[in-house]
């Protein structure tokens, strides 16, 4: 009886955890960013909110719009 109760509780907790992870994944918004790779092998990433990304991301949106027109 105690074993059955334990398994039920374990299943409930596991389900809650999996549900929480799925909910967080589905509702979290991906951050926009721009990654530049240089010919010397270096790389720099500009995330949204940075002045570089604020200038370049609108141009990237224009490229997507031009490709989908």
């Amino acid at each position: 009886m105690a074993k059955r109760k334990f398994l039920t509780l374990l299943g409930f907790v596991t389900g809650m955890f999996a549900g929480g992870v799925l909910y967080r994944r589905s509702t979290s918004r991906r951050r926009e960013r721009l990654d530049l790779y240089f010919d010397d092998g270096s790389m720099v990433s500009f995330v949204e909110g940075s002045p570089e990304a604020e200038r370049l991301l609108p141009v990237a949106r224009d490229v997507i719009a031009a490709a989908r027109r």
């Binding site: 918004r29 991906r30 926009e32 960013r33 721009l34 990654d35 530049l36 790779y37 240089f38 010919d39 010397d40 270096s42 720099v44 500009f46 570089e52 200038r55 370049l56 991301l57 141009v59 990237a60 949106r61 224009d62 490229v63 997507i64 031009a66 490709a67 989908r68 027109r69």
Partner: protein, 133 residues
């Protein structure tokens, strides 16, 4: 392989790529997956502008060889190999490494000159040696 064949191969192997355009550093379009030539020109022009604007943020003498811009609407990829460039768009959250790999392959494929088929070799008939039947 010509640009059209390279792009056809690209869209066949990479289901993530929505549109792609091959062009040079002067903006001349060599090939595109878009049906309309005007749309291909606009696509190449805007991708070239993105790369040009990105160059302003380099910190050393190294030039930008490739870039990926990830937005909510999708991603933009631009890869440069000397004077030749390729730009492509995908949906959101693509497999970045795979897309870059496929684009570089396409760029290389489009640059390869078409090799003429080798001539079939003809064998000389053995001349019968004196005394042989």
């Amino acid at each position: 392989m010509d640009a059209a064949q390279a792009l056809a191969d690209l869209t066949e192997i990479s289901s993530q790529i929505e549109a792609a355009v091959l062009f040079d550093d002067k903006g001349a379009v060599a090939g595109s997956t878009l049906a309309d030539a005007g749309a291909a020109d606009a696509f190449a022009r805007s991708a070239a502008k993105l790369l040009e604007d990105a160059e302003a943020f380099r910190s050393s003498d190294a030039a930008v060889s490739q870039l990926e811009a990830s937005t909510q609407e999708g991603s933009v990829f631009v890869v440069r190999d000397g004077a030749r460039l390729i730009a492509a768009t995908t949906g959101p959250a693509p497999t970045v490494g795979l897309v870059f790999y496929d684009l570089k392959g396409c760029l290389r494929g489009a640059a390869d000159p078409v090799k003429p088929a080798p001539k079939p070799r003809t064998r000389r008939k053995k001349e019968p040696v004196d005394g042989e039947a």
